[in-house]
């Protein structure tokens, strides 16, 4: 393996621990500075209301809530490191278990939506960049602008109205039907049937980013000398675009995909809470509505980890394909 790549990777990975420390401090600080009563946060309002004052004092003592902030922070960090992320009182289970259980559903939804989005954005981007300045380009640009200015939840509601309520083609909520079929083949069909609507909404909602990206990078690439060379050696326009222009645009595209993780998580909150998709996004929504602070803290940490991972992958993909990046 190339030495410069290893050096770059090491340098890049070394940046992560301080960032993790920063995130843990940030999460703790928000929690610490908020007017939320920590005992309520740990046990849930209902439990606390049932307890006697002596019990409350004992619990505070046990949880170390009467200690100064830095001691509490270190204690909390130790528990996090040992995998004890607290107890979710709305799900009545440990936070980490709940998050891990919900994660695959989010992964399924976002990866499907994301791939669709990238595919759609790339196709439209290529069409409009090849015909830059034409009528189809301006129509696509206008459409892109409107979608960019439309909140994803509005798209979701309208899609639900048209496809589930008026046409009745697709189910509007959950991951499986109530009386889910038993055979695995039918089960998969049922799941795909439920996946179509949320995944498409996610795809259309995010398309604008990909579209703009691929369009501008192809237009830029088309002015490079190697395109003239490609044309001069007699390639037709399709070969020039697909073989030369797009190829060079793929690099920022990959990076863009890695960097969109926070956007995707945001999108999954919207789509999952509207379509009742049992993933992390729905979990965040439930936790926020019913004030499950431990769960919220856990989700903040977990989603930050995902973002860091996404950024790392984007940088590594970039360094792998473009050696210049390694020497920055």
């Amino acid at each position: 393996m190339d030495r410069s790549l290893v050096r770059y990777a090491t340098k890049r990975i070394m940046q992560i621990p301080p960032l993790l420390l920063g995130i843990s401090i940030l999460t703790f600080l928000i929690f610490y500075l908020s007017p939320v009563n920590p005992t309520v946060a740990y046990l849930g309002l209902v439990t606390v209301q049932k307890m006697s004052p002596e019990d409350l004092d004992r619990v505070e003592e046990q949880l170390g809530l009467n200690q100064p902030a830095h001691v509490r922070y270190i204690g909390w960090l130790e528990r996090i490191a040992h995998g004890d992320w607290g107890y979710s009182h709305i799900k009545k289970r440990p936070v980490l278990d709940v998050i891990m259980e919900r994660f695959p559903a989010t992964l399924l939804l976002t990866i499907t939506g994301y791939s669709l989005s990238a595919l759609l954005g790339m196709m439209l981007g290529v069409i409009s960049s090849v015909r830059a300045g034409s009528r189809i380009d301006s129509i696509l640009n206008g459409l892109n602008y409107i979608i960019y200015s439309t909140p994803t939840f509005l798209l979701a509601l309208l899609a639900m109205l048209v496809f589930s309520v008026w046409l009745g083609w697709l189910p509007s909520s959950r991951m499986l039907s109530v009386n889910a079929p038993t055979s695995s083949w039918l089960l998969m069909q049922d799941r795909i049937h439920h996946l179509i609507l949320p995944a498409s909404v996610l795809a259309v909602g995010h398309m604008a980013v990909f579209y703009t990206y691929i369009r501008s990078s192809i237009i830029e690439a088309m002015q490079e000398d190697y395109i003239i060379t490609a044309r001069a050696k007699g390639l037709n326009e399709v070969e020039v675009v697909l073989g030369h222009a797009i190829r060079n645009s793929l690099l920022p595209f990959i990076t863009q995909m890695g960097l969109s993780v926070p956007l995707l998580i945001g999108g999954s909150v919207v789509v999952e809470s509207i379509f009742a998709w049992p993933g992390i996004g729905k979990l965040t929504y439930d936790a926020a509505l019913r004030a499950d602070y431990m769960l919220l803290m856990g989700i903040t940490l977990f989603s930050s980890l995902l973002v860091i991972l996404g950024n790392l992958l984007a940088d590594m993909a970039c360094a792998l394909t473009d050696p210049r990046v390694r020497y920055d």
């Binding site: 301080p18 960032l19 920063g22 995130i23 401090i25 940030l26 999460t27 928000i30 929690f31 908020s34 007017p35 939320v36 602008y145 409107i146 960019y148 200015s149 439309t150 909140p151 939840f153 509005l154 509601l157 309208l158 639900m160 109205l161 589930s164 309520v165 008026w166 509007s172 993780v261 926070p262 956007l263 998580i265 945001g266 909150v269 919207v270 809470s273 509207i274 965040t284 929504y285 936790a287 926020a288 509505l289 004030a291 602070y293 919220l296 803290m297 989700i299 903040t300 989603s303 930050s304 973002v307 860091i308």
Partner: protein, 304 residues
């Protein structure tokens, strides 16, 4: 001639080709805006007029319930129909303009102001302060914006100002980064160096030489950020985590519309939704227009 050559040069590092004429350019731009109203600006002016004169344009109370006519489809009496409490949606949508514009603009001014100041100090003074501030930016960038916002609004008491504060506090980082890198490059220009040699104080250099050169970033960022903040507010309210539910905000109306949609009632969703799209679209158009006029040669542009 030299300027022309430089303008033709596509080297990305040469951003300073815009700056010598910037202050002048800014005045010119303001003048040309007053001459040729762009469609975006025109739409925003109309929206502002609607927001300010909402009481005179609406025959009904936007908050009081009228249980005798719930869920009326659009008609001559109620052009946008009524909701489940019989409130006139046209009145509510118009009053919603106030909430959205107020939240959007305040949050955006706050975010850009904060980001601008931090970026300015970070880029100008450099050194340890710079690295600490930039690590702070990296840290706050790590949790997804949506999650951070939801955590903030859940943990603190809910009001219009909490929402503004929460949006402001989670959106200043991009401006800070942008302003920092610009301040860093301006700091190394000959005229700043000569000012330092002449004994100018830091405050003077910041105010006289650096901040004016970055004004165009602030103008563009505030515009684009307003659009983003309006979307964010409507999203939070839609989830039921934003503006207190009795206030007419577009997000709150959509939150109620979500219940109706399964019964095929479309007007409670469509009209507030359309207003969001129109508002955000026109602000974005204005932002693009400002970008074209204030920073025509800037490559990569000013993204949020």
């Amino acid at each position: 001639m030299i300027r022309e050559t430089m303008a033709r040069d596509k080297d990305k590092t040469m951003t300073y080709k815009v700056n010598p004429i910037l202050t002048n350019h800014f005045v010119l731009t303001l003048r040309s805006i007053s001459k040729f109203l762009s469609p975006g600006l025109l739409a925003i002016i109309i929206l502002l007029i609607l927001a300010l004169s909402a009481p005179y344009l609406t025959p009904y109370d936007p908050i009081g319930a009228n249980l005798s006519e719930p869920m009326h489809p659009p008609s001559w009496d109620h052009p946008f129909g009524t909701d489940h409490l019989g409130r006139d949606l046209y009145s509510r949508v118009l009053y919603g303009t106030r909430v959205s514009l107020l939240v959007g603009m305040s949050a955006s001014v706050m975010a850009v102001g904060m980001g601008g100041l931090i970026g300015l100090f970070s880029g100008y003074f450099g050194g340890r302060m710079d690295s600490i501030l930039m690590r702070l930016v990296d840290t706050i960038y790590s949790p997804p914006e949506t999650i951070l916002l939801m955590v903030l609004v859940t943990m603190f008491t809910r009001s219009v100002w909490t929402i503004i504060l929460a949006i402001g506090l989670t959106h200043w980082m991009s401006t800070a980064r942008l302003v920092r890198s610009e301040a860093l490059s301006i700091r190394q220009r000959p005229y700043v160096e000569s000012a330092i040699c002449l004994g100018a104080k830091d405050g003077y250099i910041l105010l006289r030489h650096i901040a004016p050169n970055l004004l165009y970033i602030a103008v563009i960022s505030v515009t684009l950020m307003t659009a983003h903040a309006i979307l964010t507010e409507s999203f939070l309210s839609f989830l039921g985590l934003g503006i207190p539910p009795h206030l007419p905000s577009w997000g709150n109306m959509l939150n109620e519309g979500q219940r109706d949609i399964m019964r095929g009632i479309w007007w409670t969703t469509l009209f507030p939704g359309l207003m969001i799209v129109i508002t955000v679209l026109s602000i974005n158009l204005l932002g693009e227009d400002l970008k074209r006029r204030l920073a025509p040669n800037r490559e990569g542009g000013i993204a949020l």
